[in-house]
Amino acid sequence: MAIKYFYIDDDNLSTTKETAKGLSVFSDDLEIEAYQHKKWPEQVDFLIDHQNDFDGLLLDWSLTQKNESGEEADFDIEALAQQLRRLVIHKKKFDKDFPIVLCSANYQFRQVFSKEATSHDLFDAVYEKEEFNENREVVVKELIELAKGYKFLNKNLKSTAPLSSSLNILREEEKSMIDDRLIILLRQIIGDNKPPHEVSRFILEQVIKPNGLLINQHLLAARLGIDILNASNMKKFTDFKNKISKTRYKGIFSNAWERWWMKKILVWWKENFDEPLGKIVGSERVKLLNNKFQMNLIPAKPTELSRSEMFWTICSETNKPLAIEDAIIAKTKVGTVDWLDDEYYSIDTALQKDYKEVNLLEKDRLKKLKNMYAKTREKNESK
């Protein structure tokens, strides 16, 4: 049965329906039903009354226009989300928890929204409406996977099953290779009877999305020395990914967020090669891979201002591979947990950045590098 989202917007119904149709292209998997906003409290009552008809909600960020009955929304979307979450937590009127996703056509939306840190905890995903066209497949996958994840958590969090089966993050045999602190935190979260939206937020924001225990494909490629930024290399990389499928993360939300267990990658490397991965430069890693698997993967090149090819991280803005020694630590997000990797910029990117965008520890170095590169530029220009 298809996953179903209710979509609430203040645009006229035909526009909203059009948007919904666009996202329902894979109608066997995802169906979006469009509605215009109502007034409070009818809006809340409507959702309570129809809770069995949807698996998730897609909400427009700013409700400023009148609906077809000439009513303006007398609430903002954060208040609605907050109220729904509260009713779920207190198990009043809602029998289940569900994803709440935010979208907007306002092009400054991300900028404004990112400053409103307090409302970030309310939404499971945030999209600009443009992404519904440009990035449709990814958005659809994420919406489906979010709803499926919630369904799983609604059912399993209450059970007394062991951690691994109630969260479907790690299999029993994977526990030994995973950071102890993650297991302790997960246990705590389950033990505290947190509602599914808090558990899912933790898993997505602290385990799956950021690089650390799990890594995304850009970091995977960088650590193996492979260039994937050139689109023509992507096909070869996809073939390669199939060869290491046993190192992939296969737990909750994994169909939309493709990740690999870093520890499993290291074990896999050890099984296949004598030379430790961390001891050889990127191009040598690719040489070994190509010889072993008769592939033609293309080695990544360092950025213009990098000194080393001992790639281990990526520039968070360009996804280009970097050696830790060349990388400049980006401003650390408050509240990140121990097992997550720092985010970095290449020197090339950092030179364009303001000091407040890098980690406090890197300010002096960035100042120095800006000064040094400015001087060499002057010298070159005066030639």
Binding site: D179, R223, I324, E325, I329, E362, M372
Partner: protein, 240 residues
């Protein structure tokens, strides 16, 4: 030392380095995987994820001349530490260390007349593995240069780089390696802000008793009859 003790020490060291403020990636110590197979414990700080020290000080007799006089904004200097370490949990052996390889690489980029120059300097501390070798290898020895300099072969001007002499030096695991760097590459003011901290002193002293006391006793036993090496165990020396 048990696996959890090693992890706990890394955590303390990471916290101290974090607070000190001259290490770029102290949190990477959290992520090192400390493996235990049987009674063997090992960890690696690899070339791809070295511990990086910033703002080291340049002494005035450094060559190329004048590096110490460059304005701070004209030189970028980094020190990388990598380490391979393995030990036995057993207290029967006098020396618990099974494998050891520490690399300290200093890289500097500086401006001369509007152009960059890159210079480097490497030290390597090793545990000799007692295969027949033609030259003297003290069990624990320090070498200038080492494999990290290979990439500069042919670019060393009139400098001759030989593996000899292999200088006798006591073993250093991670904590002692960091202490070595802090004491040798930072001026008084910078280093005092960490080496005088009670937590730091305790961490380093514990490591010295664990790894240097057996080394010292084994050394002295050569001349002091009452300290027959066969009669000593690691457990006895560290008071376990």
């Amino acid at each position: 030392m048990s696996r959890s003790e090693v992890l706990k020490n890394m955590r303390s060291l990471s916290g101290l380095l974090n607070e000190w403020g001259f290490v770029k990636n102290p949190n990477s110590l959290y992520k090192i995987s400390v493996e235990q197979i049987g009674n063997k414990i090992s960890y690696t700080i690899s070339d791809s994820e070295p511990l990086i020290f910033y703002n080291i000080d340049i002494e005035k007799h450094t060559i190329p001349h004048g590096l110490d006089k460059l304005s701070d904004s004209d030189i970028d200097i980094r020190l990388k530490l990598t380490s391979v370490f393995g030990e036995l949990i057993s207290e029967k052996n006098l020396d618990p260390i099974q494998k050891l390889g520490v690399n300290i690489v200093v890289d500097a980029t500086y401006l001369v007349e509007g152009k960059y120059e890159d210079v480097t300097c490497c030290w390597h501390l090793d545990r000799h593995n007692f295969n027949d070798s033609e030259f003297t290898h003290p069990t624990y020895h320090m070498t200038f240069g080492g494999s990290n300099m290979k990439k500069y072969a042919g670019k060393l001007g009139k400098l001759l780089l030989m593996p000899a002499p292999r200088i006798m030096y006591p073993p250093m695991e991670l904590i002692l390696s960091c202490d070595f760097i802090i004491r040798n590459f930072y001026s008084k003011e910078k280093r005092e802000s960490i080496i005088e901290k009670p937590g730091y002193i305790e961490l380093v002293e514990k490591a010295k008793i664990k790894y240097w006391k057996p080394y010292g006793c084994a050394f002295v036993s050569e001349w002091v009859d009452s300290m027959e090496i066969e009669n000593l165990t690691h457990g006895m020396l560290i008071g376990a």
